[in-house]
Every structure is written in C-alpha cells, then in structure tokens.
Amino acid sequence: MDNDQSDINEAGRQFTVEPRALGQDVLEEVIIKKEPHSVDFKRLIDLTNYSDKGNSQLTNLVKDWEYQQENAVRLLREELDSLNKQQQEVELKKLKILEEHRFKQYTYGDKSPVSSLDENVRYPYQDDPKGKNDVIFKDENVETDAEYDSLMYWKQRAVHLEKLLEASLQREHILLEKLQESTENLERQSSPVEELSQVLKRADNFLHFILQNAPVIIGHQDREMRYRFIFNHFPSLGEQDIIGKTDVEIFTGAGIKESQDFKREVMEKGLPAKREITFETELFGSKTFLIYVEPVFSKAGETIGVNYMGMEVTDQVRKREKMAKLREEIAVQKAKETELNKSIHITEESMRAKQMLATMSHEIRSPLSGVVSMAEILSTTKLDKEQKQLLKVMLSSGDLVLQLINDILDSKVESGVMKLKATKFRPREVVRHVLQTAAASLQKLLTLEGRVADDVPVEVIGDVLRIQQILTILVSNAIKFTHEAKVGIKLYVVREPCNIQDSRETYQNQSIISANMRKGDPSSIYGTGDETNTCQGPVVWIQCDVYDTGIGIPENVIPTLFKKYMQVGEDAARKYGGTGHGLANCKQLVELMGGQLTVSSVEHYGSIFTFVLPYKVSSTSDNSDNPDELSDMENQDVLDDGNDDDSHSGIFMFQPRTLGSLFASQSSGKIQKLSPNCYGLLEDSLPSSSNTTYKENVIEEDCAKGVGLDNLNSAETSVAHKTYETWDQTKKDEIKPKILLVADNRINVMVTKSMMKQLGHSIDVVNNGAEAVHAVQCNGYQLILMDVFTPVMDGLQATNLIRSFEKTGSWDDAIKAGIEIQVPSPHSLSNPQVEKTRKRIPIIAMTANALPESVNECYANGMDSFVTKPVTLKNLKQCLQQYLP
C-alpha cells in the first residue's frame, strides 16, 4: 500500500522533510546516536498535554491516524458493498426457488424454510462478518414426491436444484474466504499507537539528524529554570548532571548568573530575545555564546518555561573585538599622524621664529649696546647728582634689556621653554630698582611706593631677571591704567601658596587694601618675623602684590585677562595701547617658576595683581662676604645692603616728579638707616666709573667670590682693562696654564691673542683642526679654544680625535683621519704635562652661532662649553675662570 508515503508527508509537514526516496537514503546512512540529548519524558508528556504546540502536534498525529483509518473503513465498505450485491443476487435466486417452493408449500403447507433462509441471509451483514460462516441452506433438498410431471421431471428438477445449491454454496465459500482475508488485512493494519510512534520516531530521527550536525545547544528549561531537555553538540556533562537542575547549580563562573537572569527576564516578559554572554567557567573555559531564548506558553497563555538555543561565537567575538581594536588603532594612528603633521608644522614655524628671534635680537643688541655704551661714556662726563641718578637708571635698564637679549642669543630660550637661572638676589633691591625705573619714565602725578615686610629675607635665590621682568610689566601696566593716587609693590612672606586668594576678596578703597594687606601679612602668623626665623626653612614663599588705584577691571573680563593679546576692551586698547600680551607672559613666567599669579579688582577703584613664588633662602654663611660687599654696595648706591639694620627697612616712596626732584625726599644718604620704617630713599654718590664696576660686581655677586674684589675696588677709577689686568695678575702668579687657540681667521686670532694677553695668558695658535691635533700630541695644554669651522679639519672632528686619544691613549683614530703622528719622544712622554693631558683637556668651542642645535653639536662632539664669536673679554674671562684651576 502506498499509504506510507502520505503518512510521512503528513508527519513531515512540520519539518519540511525531503521526499521519501531521498530522505530515506539519507536516513539509512545516518547512524543515530542517542546519547547527546537527554529527555525527561514525563515532562515531554506534560508539555504535550499542556502546551499549545505539543497539543497541535498531537492533534496532527491523531488527524493523520484518523485519516488512515477512514481510508481503511472506506475500503472495507467497498468490499462490503460488493459482498452485498452478491448476497442480493443470491437472494433473488433464492426467491425464485422459494416461489417454486411456495407452490409446493402450498401443496404441502407445513414447511417454512424461507423465513429461516431470510434470517440466514440477513445475518452475516449485520455485525460481525465472522457470523456469516453458519450460512446453511437447509431447505435445498427438494421433495421428490411431486406428481406434477413424470418422475423424470422431478428428477431433473432435483438435479437442477442441486446444482444451484452447489453454486450457491461455492459462492458462499468464496465470500467467506474474502471476508477472512479482509479481516486479516484489517488485523494486519497497525494499531494507532504503533502508527503514531512510528511517525514520531521518524520525526525524531530527522530531528536527531539535524541536531547532530548543528553545532548548537538546544535546551528547554521549566519555570524554575530547571533543565528539562538539553541537546549539546559537545556534551561534557551526563544527563543526570543536567536534567532537573538550573544553570547556577550546574556551572560556576562568570556569565552563568547573567544567562540565568536573562532567561528569567525573557520568561517574565514573554518576548523572545537574544543576547551575547561571555562565560568564564572551569568546565569549558572562556567562551562567548549567543543565546536565543524563546518563552513557551501554556494553553492558558502563561509561560511555563523557555526554549533556548546557544551558539558559540567566541571566535567571532574575538574577531569582532580585534576589528574594533584595529579600527581604533587606525583611528589613533590617523590622529597621531595629523598631530604629528601639526607638530611638524609647528616645529617648522618655531624654528623659523627662533631664527627670526635670533636675528632680531642681534639687530636689537647692536643699537642697544650703542645706547648703553654712550650712556656709559656720558656717565664719565661731569654731571650733577640728579643727572647721575637718571643716568644710572638708564644704565641699569639698558643692562637689563641687554641681559634679556643675551639670554635669547645665548640660547636661554630653547624650544619655547625658558630656562631659569637661579641667582642670589636682594628682593628689596629689585623692588627699588623696578620702582625707580618706573618713576623715571613716569608722566603722571602718581606716587610709587614699595613696602617690603620685615620678614622677607635679605637675600633669596631665584631668577632675578624674570622676577624683575614680571614686576616691571605689572607695574607699568598698573601705571598705564592709573591716573591718580598711587601704584605700589608690597612684598611679604606667606606660609602656603594655596591660601592666597582668601586673604583678599574685594576692596572699596585704599584703606581697606592696606587693612587686608595687614591681615594677609604673615608676620602675625610667624610672630616676630626676624631673619633667623625665616632662614630656618630652605624655601620661603614670598607674596608680591602690585596694587593700584586705577580704573580697575570689570569682573567679566578677568578670566580672559591672562590670555594673549587680550585687553579689557577695544576702547582700552585704543586708549592705552600695547600689544596686550604682557600679562600672559607674566603668568607664564610665574607658573614656570612654580608660583601663581592672580588678580582681584574692583572697577573704578583699582586692581591688585598678586603673585606668589617660592625662593630658596640664601644660607647665612653667604653673608660672610658681606663686609666686602658692604663697602662695595655703598659705593654702588644700593639701599640697605650688607647691613643688618638696613636689611629690614624695605619701604620706598617715589613722589610725583613735579613735587621736586625725581627721587622725592632723598636729599642725602641713609635715611633708612635712621629709622627702618621711614620711607627709604635712594642714595646719591654714583661711582665714578660705574660701568665697569657695576658689571664686575654682577659677576662677583653671581659667583659669590670675594677674590679680586679689593683689586676691583682699588681699580674702580681706572679704565676697565686695567682692572682686568690687575685682577688676572694675581692669578698669573700662581699658575701658568698653557692654552691653545685653534682659529684660521687672522683677525680673530689677533684679537683673541691680545685679549688673552690682557688676561695674563700667552697662547699657542694653530690654524685648523689637524694642526690642533698635532699640537696636542706634542704639548700639554690645559685649555683649548677651538673654532668650530676651520679649513682642512674642523673643530668638531679635531675634538673628537683628541677625546678619543684621551680615552684610549692611542692616536689610532687620528692616524686613520690622515694626521701624521709624531712619535712622542721619551722626554715628552715623561713630561708630566703631557701625561696630564691624558686627563681631559677642556675644549671650548668658538662659534658665531649660539643656537641650541649648533651648541648641542659642540657638546655631542666632546666640547665642554662655548663662547660666542666675536669673543669678548668678559666671555673669555668667565671661561678661563671656569676651566682653569
């Protein structure tokens, strides 16, 4: 029968199975293992009972079965119909016979075979086909005693009837057989259960086949999150370990809880959802699964569990992450690239700017040195006191600018970063100097005052140049925006840099300023702010207020105040001029020195710019040279130096010029000595040859050396070079160092030689690097001045060769470089001076280019220092001081 085909199709409709022929082939080849999945059958039945899906599945199966049964019934019916027809035929025959019988009966009357026959005929078709077997035609025997015809007639008739009976019997027999067959057939046809289970088994097989090749985990969990079914392609746990347990009970590790919570969430929401969860378990290590959970509903519509499918996507996730990382890296790379391009651009710009700065500084230096020189010349002429004072201010200002420019040229500015130079200085002096300078150029009726608190040390260490610069900018700013009353500087020690702001908030007028000032005065904190107190700590924080009674700054522009090229307003810019980057510079400088610059202001009343900076306190032992300085300083017209009483009087007052002379009440010297709190004033007595003495003094102060000061002082009135000479004369007596000059420019040689002579040294001269190497071979030198660019062999290479010799003791490198070697005589070998040169001769580069690059090149080639060309006496002298013992 071809019912099978349709059966399968019926059952397979749910699974979209291939046509049988193909499907069966496949199935035949597949060996279905039963292990990978574990089923709780009871639950399955529950499921089929309770869930809609299971229900419909079952209905399908039942329908299928019913259809089959119907088919069978139909077939049976047909069979029965045909049998019925035959029966009817037989009945008709019987009736005929009975008619004849009736005739006879009528004759004999006591026989009623028809009824029994009737009954017999009807019987088998009623219920059980088996009952047909008992059909007996009892009344076939026909009476022979009929006188109707001849005996023959009856005989014939009997034979005929007998034949009919026989045929009937035969038919009946066939019918019986057919019935039997049909019954058997019916029996052979499987029971519904069998049928069902077969279909189920097929479906199951397909499922297995598919699942076996599906690298996924499929599971069903009930409402308590207990596993009821699990299929795992890579089983690692037995059935008993999983069924009836929850995720949390089975596994431990990261991600388990999350997955369970996720499933629960799906169950609660009743909506399917997907999620990637990374597990970190002992069982299977670190893996990421994509989990798809679908809720299972009961007929009543409530969730009774979840089905879920898990797929391992570790590799994908990893790849994805890698991709993301790569993308990120690419982005970063790109950003870097643009950044780099930008910085290249900036570097180029700054290089150009630096070059320009250097050129500009050069351009500025020359005329400026002219100005200063002329001022110096002027100071030698006959002048009255006031003129001398003016000139002195002019000189010191000019000197400051020169120093600044020299700093730039001497590569103090390196890639935008200012190098700070720590020197000892006297804060009072700085304040006085700044105010004095400002007063000199003052064109308004303003009082300039300076108040230095008693607790500020006499001497501190810091970058005086920068501090002076900051003060100058702040004061000139203050003056620019102030039209009446005063501008002042106040200096006092503070404890911490952080609490500066709260000591001053706003103020209404000058009196409040000073009140606040007093409040912020740490002398109250420190008690008596005497020197020993402040000298204890190595670092002292000094706050400096620059206050004015000017137009003030509107509150809203304060934040932008320190930005470059900012002025309070267009009007202000027009009215007051200036580029507006002074304040930005100030802030930068202060921060560079580790301090902070703040401002507070009230419009129309004034402003206070405050900066706090740390300074090292110059140790008291340095005061040992005070006696030397004292006499010197007095000559130098410096206030209160070198005198303990004076060192605490730090009040300066510069009244408006129109009130009299420039320096208000300073008709004569040391008023401040009389009373520390009265307004200290400038002294007169300008030294006769201020220029040289002043400069020398700066050097001496920087070096903190007392040597030669007496000489200096005695030589004060003489011309400068005499001073140098006498100074060096003292040294020359002690040692006679041998110095080698390597330079090819005759004029340069001549000048340098002459300078050296002035400094008390005779020098050997060679014209190029090769000769220099030669000379070093033959003679011991204690110092070499080396021009960087010389013909034949440049200074850098020569230095390299000399250093190589010093390191290895052999001139091999020099020989390689093509220099003839004079074998040193035994005499010269024993010469201690030659031996000494093995130690390392200081080599000073002489270069016209003091830009950091070329200087670094000098250092890289083993040079120790450099002097800029054209050489000056001062530079040479410093250099000799540093490198000659």
Partner: protein, 152 residues
C-alpha cells in the same frame, strides 16, 4: 677750548655716530680696550690686517663669481672668513651683509651673490673710510699731546 679738546669732542661725536649708525658695534670697543702701553698700536694693527684681508677676500670673491662654473662652496668659505673678520673687528654692517651673502650662497643664487658682493664692497669701503677717519683723529689727538677719550 684748545685744539685737543676740539679734537676729542670731534672724536667722541664721530665714534658715537659710528655706533649709532651701526658701522661699528661693541666689539670695536673691545678692541680698543685691548690696546694699552704694552701694545700701543693694537687697534691700528688689527684694522690694517682687516683691510688687507678684506681686500684679498673681495678680490677672491669677485674672481670666484666670474668663473664659468661658480663654486658656491668656495664662495661661502670666503664669505665665512669675511664675516669672521668683520665681526671680530666689530664692523657690524659688513658682517650683517655677509650673513645675507651666505644665505644666497646656500641657495646657489648667483644673482643674489653678485648683488651682495656689490653691497658688501660698498659697506666695506664705507667702514674703511670711517675707520681711517677715526684712526686719523686718534693720531691727531695723540700728536697734539692729548689722550684719546675712552669710549665706554
């Protein structure tokens, strides 16, 4: 005022103008400081040497620039020398010209070099003239028994 005084004033005025106009810079003051009793003609010696050197260099430069194939390296070396000596003596404007000259050398710019040579020559003769005047004034002061005022 006597003639010495006048000469001295003239000397100061003249040298001041030299510094002001940038013909000389403070390097020349350095030179003057180096001159003393043991070395009374130092400045004159150096200046003469400078003249000698410079004229040689200017000649060399002119020749080198007229070559069919101009060797800019060679020219640069000459200019470098010139710059060195002019800066040593404090001939500021010559030196500045040399800086520009070297830039053109670097660029192998023949036209620029030619132009610069003319300008350097011009500056050189200017400063030579000035220096000669200055030295003459000095000599005259000394001849009249005065002392040369010290600049700075």
């Amino acid at each position: 005022m006597d003639i010495v005084g006048q000469l001295q004033k003239q000397y100061v005025d003249f040298s001041t103008s030299l510094y002001r106009e940038g013909f000389l810079d403070d390097q020349f003051i350095q030179l003057q400081k180096l001159q003393d009793d043991t070395n009374p003609d130092f400045v004159v010696e150096v200046v003469s040497l400078f003249f000698e050197d410079s004229e040689k260099l200017l000649n060399n430069l002119a020749t080198a620039l007229q070559q069919q194939v101009v060797d800019f390296k060679q020219i640069d070396a000459h200019v470098h020398q010139f710059k060195g000596s002019s800066s040593s003596i404090g001939a500021n404007r010559v030196k500045n010209m040399c800086v520009a000259f070297r830039n053109f050398c670097e660029e192998n710019n023949l036209d620029g070099c030619m132009r610069c040579l003319q300008q350097v020559k011009h500056e050189y003769y200017l400063v030579k003239n000035k220096l000669e005047t200055l030295l003459r004034l000095e000599r005259q002061i000394l001849e009249h028994g005065g002392t040369v005022p010290m600049i700075a």
